[in-house]
C-alpha cells in the first residue's frame, strides 16, 4: 500500500531512487511494475459523502454531538431552555433519531457542549440566568448521567460553549461571555476543575464573539471561533491554537482567517464545529445570509492534509444542513457524523485500496499546464461495477488514485518505485469489448484542480502586504491543492498589489502570478514551486556507456515563440532580448504587463523572468527511452548521441509521458499475436 509522501519545505530536485532500481531500468531485460492505489480522498483530505439519515421537526437551537466509546450517537440540544438528550446505540440508516429525553431546565439560547473519551462523556451547559456553567458526566456511554456539578458562576451571561479532552484524559471548557471579546478556558486536571476561567490573550483582536468550538490534535487544543474583527468589524471565522504541549501550555496562538465577510455584507458567521479526522482537521460553521435571499446554511472546510489550524484553509463549501447554529460534527473510525437538532447525516470513511493487480494499461502525460492519466483496469469478475461499492468503496470519480511506476528490481524481485503522482479521478467508464469487461479510469492533476476552482468572492491585497509565494499558497489552499517548495527570491520577496475577481479560476490566478516569475510549478503530490536556473546541475544522463539508454532522439532548431520580451510597467518599461535568436530569426516581440514594476530593478527582473519562461518552454526536441522511474518534469538531462554529434548536451524536460501495457502472451480471440508489454518514457526537451 502506497503512502503519500509528506510535504517537504525545502526545494527538491530529482527524487533519489534506489541504486538497484536505477541499475535495473537501464537493462535490456526489465520487469515493470506499476502501483495504483485508490483513495476516497483528494490530495490526502478525506471526501465525506454525506447521506441524510433523519429529517425531523425539532426546533433549531444550540446543539452538540459526540460519539461514545461504544459507538453510540449522543446528541444534546437547548430548546428554549429545555435540555434534551438523545442516544442512539449502533446508529445507522434505519435507526430512530426522534427520541429525546428531557434532562434539565437550562438558560434559553445558551450553548451546550459534548465531549467524549474512552470511559467518559462530558456534557456542559449553562443555567441560572446564563451565569452558571454546569457539567454532567456519563460513564456508561450516555445511558445515564451523574448529577450536575457547578463549575463556575460568572458575573455576566455565558454565551457560546465548547469542550474537549486531551490524550491524557484531562478536559478543557471554552466559553464566551455573551458576545463580548472575552473567551475563557477552564481546565479539569487529574479530575479536578480549576476554580475559575482564565481569559484568552486575543481579546484585543476582536470586536465580538459569536461562537467557539474545540478539539485536540494530540499536541494542542485547536479552536474555531466566529465573530467580528476589531476596528473594521469585518465578520470572521478564525482558527486558533491554545497550547497543551506542542506549544507552551495555555499559550494562545494568532487568529488565522478561515472565512471572511466585510462589515457591510449581510453575511455573518456562527455555530462553529471542529473535529479531527485522523490527523486532519475538519470544521463547520453557520453561514448566515440576512438576505436577499435570506438563508442559513452550514459550510464545511479544512486545512491541507497534514497541516494544522494555522495553515491556509480550503474554500468553505455548502452542506445540506440549514441551521442558524451550525452543524455539529463527530468522527468514528468507519464514519463521520453531522447533526442539527432536526437532522442526522453520516459519511463513510473507507480505507485506501490497491488496484495494482487489475492494471492492464496506463498512459500518463504531464507538462507545465496539466496532467492526464488513463488507466485500464480488469473487471472480469464484475467487482468494480458501480464503484464505489461494497467491494471497492475507495474507488470513486472525484476521489484520488496514487500512481507510481517502478520495476521488480529489489531483493528477490521485490518491487521498487520512483515518482509518486497523486491524481484526481475525473471519470470512471465501464466497458465491454471482445467479451472482456474493463473499467477505464481517467485522472487529472493539481493544475486541473486549480482550473476547476473558481473564487466564490472577490479578494484583494494591497502592495507590500503579501509575497507572490504567500498569495499562491493561499490560492492553492482555497482550491484544496497542496503546495511545497520555496520559490525564487522574486517569488518570496516582491509583494505586489493583487486581486482575484469572483468567478475567476485558480489556474487564471496562478498564470498571472507566474507571468513575471522565473518559477515553474511541478505537479506531483500537489504542486511544487521550483525556480529554474540556467545553471542547474544535471539530474540524469542519457546515451553514453553506463548511462540510461536512448530508444530514439530528435533534436530541433526552430525559432522560439518570442525572442524580444518587453515588460510594461505603470510608468516605465524594460526589454529582455535573446540576441542570437533575434539576429537569426528576426524580432519576435511579446509584451507583458505588470503594474507592480514600479522600479527599474523590478522592471528589469520581471522582463528577464518572462524571457526565461519563453526560453525554458522552447520545444527543442524529443527523447524516448525505457521508463526512468525517478524522472520528473523540469529535470535537467545530459544527452550524448555520437551519431548526431552530441556530447553531454543539456536539456530540460518540459513535457513527460509514459505508457505501460501489460502483456499476456499467446494469441487473442481472432488468432493474432497479443501486443508485447510496453514501458517507455517520452520527454519533450526544452531550454535550460
Amino acid at each position: 500500500m502506497l503512502e503519500l509522501r509528506p510535504a517537504t519545505p525545502t526545494l527538491r530536485r530529482m527524487i533519489p531512487i534506489a541504486s538497484s532500481l536505477e541499475a535495473h531500468q537501464k537493462q535490456t531485460n526489465r520487469v515493470p511494475v506499476l502501483a495504483v492505489t485508490a483513495s476516497a480522498a483528494r490530495f490526502g483530505s478525506e471526501i465525506l459523502r454525506w447521506t441524510r439519515y433523519y429529517s425531523g421537526a425539532e426546533n433549531d437551537s444550540p446543539h452538540a454531538l459526540a460519539i461514545a466509546n461504544d459507538g453510540s450517537l449522543v446528541r444534546a440540544r437547548n430548546d428554549a431552555g429545555t435540555l434534551f438528550l438523545s442516544r442512539v446505540t449502533s446508529p445507522g440508516s434505519g435507526s430512530t433519531y426522534s427520541s429525546w429525553t428531557n434532562l434539565a431546565a437550562v438558560s434559553a439560547g445558551t450553548g451546550v457542549a459534548l465531549a467524549s473519551k474512552t470511559g467518559e462523556l462530558l456534557l456542559a451547559y449553562v443555567d441560572n440566568a446564563g451565569l452558571t456553567l454546569k457539567v454532567r458526566i456519563s460513564t456508561d456511554n450516555g445511558a445515564s448521567w451523574a448529577a450536575a456539578t457547578t463549575i463556575v458562576t460568572e458575573a455576566s451571561a455565558i454565551g457560546s460553549l465548547a469542550a474537549a479532552y486531551n490524550p491524557a484524559g484531562d478536559a478543557c471548557l471554552f466559553f464566551t461571555l455573551g458576545t463580548t471579546t472575552t473567551l475563557k478556558r477552564l481546565r479539569r486536571t487529574s479530575g479536578v476543575w480549576a476554580g475559575a476561567g482564565t481569559a484568552w490573550t486575543q481579546g484585543g483582536n476582536v470586536a465580538s464573539l459569536t461562537g467557539v468550538a474545540a478539539t485536540h490534535d494530540g499536541g494542542d487544543f485547536q479552536l474555531l471561533i466566529t465573530g467580528t474583527a476589531v476596528t473594521t468589524t469585518h465578520k470572521r471565522v478564525w482558527g486558533c491554537i491554545m497550547g497543551d504541549g506542542n506549544f507552551p501550555p495555555n499559550a494562545w496562538g494568532s487568529l488565522v482567517s478561515v472565512a471572511e465577510s466585510d462589515s457591510l455584507s449581510s453575511i455573518s458567521y456562527a455555530g462553529p464545529a471542529l473535529i479531527m479526522l485522523g490527523i486532519d482537521i475538519r470544521a463547520a460553521f453557520a453561514h448566515k445570509e440576512a438576505g436577499p435571499v435570506a438563508a442559513n446554511r452550514a459550510y464545511l472546510t479544512h486545512p491541507p492534509h497534514g497541516s494544522g489550524i494555522s495553515a491556509d484553509w480550503a474554500e468553505p463549501a455548502p452542506h445540506e444542513a440549514a441551521s442558524a447554529f451550525g452543524l455539529a460534527l463527530a468522527a468514528a473510525s468507519g464514519a463521520a457524523w453531522a447533526t442539527t437538532p432536526s437532522g442526522v447525516w453520516s459519511a463513510p470513511r473507507p480505507a485506501s485500496q490497491s488496484l495494482t493487480s487489475r492494471v492492464l494499461s496506463c498512459r500518463f502525460r504531464q507538462d507545465h499546464r496539466g496532467t492526464s492519466c488513463t488507466i485500464e483496469l480488469a473487471n472480469h469478475d464484475g467487482l468494480l461495477n458501480g464503484a464505489p461499492n461494497a467491494n471497492f468503496p475507495a474507488l470513486l470519480a472525484g476521489g484520488s488514485v496514487a500512481v507510481s511506476p517502478g520495476y521488480a528490481s529489489g531483493a528477490a524481485g521485490a518491487p521498487q518505485f520512483g515518482v509518486l503522482h497523486d491524481l484526481t479521478v475525473s471519470r470512471l467508464s465501464y466497458g465491454l469489448r471482445d467479451g472482456r469487461s474493463t473499467v477505464t479510469l481517467d485522472a487529472t492533476g493539481p493544475w486541473e484542480a486549480l482550473a476547476h476552482w473558481r473564487a466564490p468572492q472577490a479578494w484583494q491585497t494591497a502592495a507590500a502586504a503579501m509575497t507572490r509565494g504567500a498569495i499562491f499558497a493561499r490560492l492553492c489552499a482555497r482550491a484544496g491543492v497542496p503546495v511545497t517548495g520555496s520559490g525564487s527570491s522574486d517569488w518570496t520577496t516582491f509583494q505586489p498589489a493583487f486581486a482575484i475577481a469572483a468567478g475567476e479560476t485558480g489556474a487564471s490566478v496562478a498564470e498571472r502570478l507566474l507571468s513575471v516569475a522565473s518559477d515553474f510549478l511541478r505537479p506531483g503530490v500537489g504542486l511544487t514551486v521550483r525556480p529554474l536556473a540556467a545553471g542547474d546541475a544535471t539530474d540524469a544522463s542519457y546515451g553514453a556507456a553506463g548511462e540510461h539508454p536512448i530508444v530514439s532522439l530528435r533534436l530541433s532548431d526552430s525559432p522560439a515563440i518570442a525572442n524580444w520580451l518587453r515588460l510594461q510597467g505603470p510608468d516605465r518599461y524594460a526589454d529582455s532580448v535573446a540576441l542570437a535568436e533575434l539576429y537569426q530569426h528576426g524580432p519576435r516581440l511579446r509584451v507583458v504587463r505588470s503594474q507592480d514594476a514600479t522600479t527599474d530593478a523590478k522592471a528589469n527582473a520581471y522582463a528577464a523572468n518572462a524571457a526565461r519562461r519563453e526560453a525554458v518552454l522552447d520545444d527543442q526536441g524529443e527523447l524516448r527511452c525505457p521508463l526512468h522511474a525517478g524522472q520528473e518534469l523540469f529535470d535537467v538531462l545530459s544527452i550524448t548521441a555520437p551519431l548526431l554529434g552530441v556530447t553531454a548536451r543539456k536539456a530540460r524536460i518540459i513535457a513527460l509521458a509514459w505508457e505501460y501495457r501489460r502483456s499476456f502472451g499467446g494469441k487473442d480471440r481472432r488468432g493474432g499475436a497479443r501486443s508485447p508489454s510496453t514501458y517507455e518514457s517520452t520527454y519533450t526537451l526544452g531550454g535550460l
Partner: protein, 67 residues
C-alpha cells in the same frame, strides 16, 4: 478579466468600495473613477468596473455609474 458590474458599498472620495456581482461577502476598493462619473458616485448606485487585462488593482477604473 475585463468589465465587471457591481454596487457602490461606500464612497469616500477618492476611495470607492465596490461589491461586485457574485461577491456577497467581500468588496474591493479602488481610487480610480472616471472624471465624468465622480459627481454621480453614491452608495447604492450601480457601476461598471474595468479591471484591465491583469486584474491588478492599480488598473481598476470605474467608468460608468447609474441609479
Amino acid at each position: 478579466m475585463s468589465v465587471l458590474r457591481g454596487v457602490i458599498a461606500a464612497w469616500s472620495s477618492p476611495t470607492a468600495t465596490i461589491r461586485l456581482e457574485g461577491s456577497a461577502p467581500q468588496t474591493i476598493t479602488t481610487t480610480k473613477v472616471s472624471l465624468d462619473a465622480v459627481a454621480s458616485m453614491a452608495a447604492g448606485r450601480k457601476v461598471l468596473l474595468d479591471t484591465g487585462d491583469h486584474n491588478d488593482p492599480a488598473d481598476f477604473v470605474i467608468f460608468a455609474v447609474w441609479a
